[in-house]
Amino acid sequence: MVFLSSDRLNTGLLARFARRELAPNRYDLIALVLIGAVAVLVVHGAQQMNLPVSALHTQPVVLDPARLPEYALRSTLRMFAAIFASLTFTFVVATIAAKSHKAELVIVPMLDIAQSIPIMAFLAFTLTFFIGLFPKSEFGAELAAIFLIFTSQAWNMAFSFYQSLRTLPGDLVEVSQQFHLSPWQRFWKLELPFATPALVWNTMMSMSGGWFFVVASEYFTVGATKVSLPGIGSWLAIAIERRDFVSVSWAVGAVAVVIVLYDQLVFRPIVAWADKFRFEQTASENQPESWFFDLLRRTRVFKRLGRPFRGLLAALPRSRPRARPASRAPDPALLRWMDRAWIALVAVAGIWAVWTIFRYLSANLRLSDLLLAFGLGFLTLARVVVLIIIATLIWVPIGVWIGMRPVWSQRIQPVAQFLAAFPANVIFPFAVMGIVAWRLDPNIWLSPLIILGTQWYILFNVVAGASALPNDLKEAAGIFHLRSWQRWRDFILPGIFPYYVTGALTASGGSWNASVVAEVVSWGHTKLQAAGLGAFIAKATDAGDFPRVALGATVMSIFVIAMNRSVWRPMYAYAEKNLRLN
């Protein structure tokens, strides 16, 4: 998941993201290394705890349709627990980063790296850590699942909040200072409302992306540890083990229902509500709508229910006006010196991290393992690249066609967003059945699975871009009778490019994640495998081979980050500089 902004929101957020330095700087490196070192330490600690085999007494999932609503609810609750954790994380970490320059130096690159890391690869670490915290209880496994979902959601939310805090409108900041609002009042009156539209959009996109991880996190094996949490993901996994076609279909249906409900009862109402916080002095033409939100607004009961909360908000602590701020800025020389000391401290931590990783990996791995991981990485890279290209060739023309027709785009857009939220791993069994039945080559035919769920990001972003093409340019293109190729080259493609890049970046990030579950799939005892880094990680996770999991995860992170820095960021920067329509 990447930091996203809605087409309706100020695309400037994206711009700011794009304008940041293209080349990885030393902080990126340090951040990456620190994350890696922590992972290594976690595993090291967990291994020493010597987990007992099947220590977890989880209730087995029963394939009974009557129990399905309960399982769906359990899965949904996990999602909401994760989103709650993500919001808390966002408020704390992003606020610290925005207020403290020193923390910012470390936190921002960390967030940036974290949001490009394929977290499926780190499954083994998170799982081991939490089960290690609460051995012999289901609680640890629950926490592990929630933490996995959390890691798929938190970073872009925190990033969006941080960006908002850094770009508060100057005049409103001055008003707040002039009236001596306390930091607490300032948060509620200025910072949170200003950040709300972007944060809500990112939260909603995070939740959409999160269903994939909900399904993936409920049923897994790391070495001798097997976890099966009650939920749709476990239901699906058990159905696959038993080759129970009907139960798989039930799971697909249940997920579809859950996502439609989530879309109608959560996503749309909240986006419609957040429209009020858009920082614009004019009413927006294209207001997001939600029947459920309108309904809630009209009911009396809801308003009654809301009243105590309003009272609570109003009673938030106030502070007395303080004396005029008289403090002068500290000596710049001292500040510079302190900055240097801080950077030195971070650098020392970085060196220690490198040493830790190196010691761990060199004790357990050989150079040939490294070469193998990189070789497989290139195979998966080839898959991702080819599939993004194919998806582009298919969805860009279709998206433009839809986007240019307002009636169609209004109908299709929700469908595309629904499909993007739908966890593709639920559909995998059908593909496997097909491959088995027709004896196809898994190396080729498993590949489409990695883009199955993420291609929709390309579609709905292109649709958004095409419907945002300004009418006067459309008319100009019409008046001068632009030939069809010229029309695409000079008008349509440049116009949708910024949107396309957003979609393609999300799709490619999601595809790397999906490769961990898509390159090894099974149907009963039939196991299909494609050669690739995803399969490498999946196998190592299954076997509880931590050094290889660490190696695979690190190599995959390097691939994703390199691709972001060398392909997507420059494309963003280019689009931002040359192709802005407003």
């Binding site: 409108p169 005049d171 409103l172 001055e174 008003v175 200072q177 002039q178 009236f179 001596h180 609002l181 306390s182 009042q185 009156k189 200025l190 409302p193 709300t196 009020k276 916080f277 858009r278 920082f279 614009e280 002095q281 004019t282 009413a283 109003a314 106030r318 502070s319 007395r320 006006p321 005029r324 701020p325 008289a326 403090s327 002068r328 800025a329 710049p332 500040l335």
Partner: protein
């Protein structure tokens, strides 16, 4: 001083605000020279007066206002804000912003309540005072509206109500009417003056920043005229005209014209011919004025009734421009020897008259000659391009040279100006993609 005597609680003349030897430098955190925006400014604000701070952009008048508001800590000097003696209810300062600075997610009422809430005023009193302020400022019926539903004039009324509801003794106004259209601005000014002269506002004194000379003369009892780069007080003018003032009255006009002359007056010295552009030679900071605007100005001064020379204040009125819009154009013409400015008169040179009569290509040639002859940076870039075998040079090279003389924003503006003038004159080409100059010409 204002001739209408007012019934105010105290006739004390102890100053409400005293600013002494104020100096402010922007951006010297990095150890560089920084940009001196205010230099040795003194100001005294007494009860019962409206004081205007008048100056062009870059004269630091907003910085001064923000120092008084406590939003900026000046580099050196002192700012003392005192309340009225005795038990006057009005306390401290409050501010009205050019951009209105309303919170779009709060209703009119919530916006106005903001300052009271910060002070911890109980809800019922808060509500009472807010409604009274809304009533005073003519916003009844809009209590539950959101700012986006209001016109610009109504938004600024909210800004005013919000500033007044906390009962400040001093009202600071930062170009409060400049984001409004002419008619709306006039209505708001009149309403404000009425409230002031009737003593219905809690405030004891108003300090208003403006770049509109007529506005200053219309409203103020005293006007401080600022020079730019750095900002210094170059004149203090008392306005003794009775309220309400009439723009068409000769005394009013004379005062406006006089202030125009003071604002165009430039520091004495040998660089006088370069207008008000700070720096000389390569280090001259240019203002980016479009060549269309320059041509339009030459045409306007040539045309009847001006026939080659015009009074700046009259010209500004004719063209409906503010002083700080007109003056950079006039000074650019002067820099390129297309015009001379003497006192408040601008007179075209013979070259400008030739320019006016010429066709498009001749105009470009004439402009090119003057650009190369009188703008050292243009000649320098051209020389470098001529000398190089490739006839190309990266723009960063010149930008770096400029930054030896001036701060980054000025260098940026100067580069923008030279690129646009050079392109029009066709003395060199500039390629935005890779940020370089070249001699090649698409023609």
């Amino acid at each position: 001083m204002m001739t209408i005597t007012l019934d105010r609680p105290s006739q004390s003349t102890a100053p409400l605000v005293e600013v002494k030897n104020l100096k402010h430098v922007y951006g010297n955190g990095g150890g560089g020279a920084g940009l001196l925006v205010l230099d040795d400014v003194n100001l005294t604000l007494r009860p019962n007066e409206i004081v205007g701070l008048l100056g062009r952009s870059g004269s630091g008048k907003s910085t001064l206002l923000r120092s008084i508001a406590g939003l900026i800590t000046p580099t050196s000097g002192s700012v003392t804000v005192s309340d009225m003696p005795g038990d006057d209810t009005a306390r401290g300062v409050s501010m009205v912003f050019q951009s209105f600075a309303l919170f779009p997610w709060l209703t009119v009422q919530k916006n106005v309540e903001l300052g009271l809430e910060a002070q911890g005023v109980p809800a019922d009193i808060r509500r009472k005072r807010t409604l009274a302020a809304i009533d005073l400022i003519g916003l009844d019926g809009f209590e539950n509206a959101y700012p986006k539903e209001l016109s610009g004039g109504m938004r600024q009324r909210v800004g005013l109500a919000r500033a007044l509801v906390v009962q400040p003794s001093i009202l600071l106004m930062d170009e409060p009417f400049s984001a409004l259209d002419v008619l709306t601005a006039e209505t708001l000014r009149t309403d404000l003056l009425d409230l002031w002269s009737e003593g219905r506002m809690p405030i004891r004194s108003i300090l208003i920043v403006t770049h509109n000379i007529e506005e200053a003369v219309l409203m103020c009892d005293r006007i401080l005229v600022f020079s730019s780069n750095p900002g210094r007080v170059i004149a203090e003018i008392k306005v003794d005209l009775p309220q309400p003032r009439n723009r068409l009255e000769p005394a009013f006009r004379a005062l406006v014209d006089d202030i125009y002359a003071r604002m165009t007056a430039r520091p004495t010295g040998p660089v006088a011919r370069d207008g008000n552009f700070p720096g000389t030679g390569l280090g001259m900071a240019l203002t980016h004025v479009s060549t269309n605007t320059l041509a339009g100005m030459i045409e306007a001064i040539t045309a009847a009734p001006n026939s080659g020379a015009a009074d700046l204040a009259t010209l500004a009125r004719e063209l409906q421009m503010e002083a700080d819009e007109l003056l950079p154009i006039a000074e650019t013409l002067q820099l390129m020897r297309f015009a001379e400015i003497e006192g408040r008169t601008i007179r075209l040179t013979p070259a400008a008259k030739r320019y006016d009569a010429a066709d498009v290509d001749q105009r470009k040639q004439l402009f090119a000659q003057h650009l190369l002859a009188y703008v050292p940076l243009a000649a320098h870039i051209r020389r470098v391009l001529d000398d190089r075998a490739s006839h190309q040079a990266p723009a960063t090279r010149f930008r770096d040279e400029l930054e030896d003389f001036m701060s980054e924003p000025y260098a940026e503006e100067t580069m923008d100006a030279i690129v646009s003038w050079g392109r029009y004159a066709e003395i060199f080409a500039y390629h935005e993609d890779d940020d370089r100059f070249s001699l090649d010409d698409p023609a």
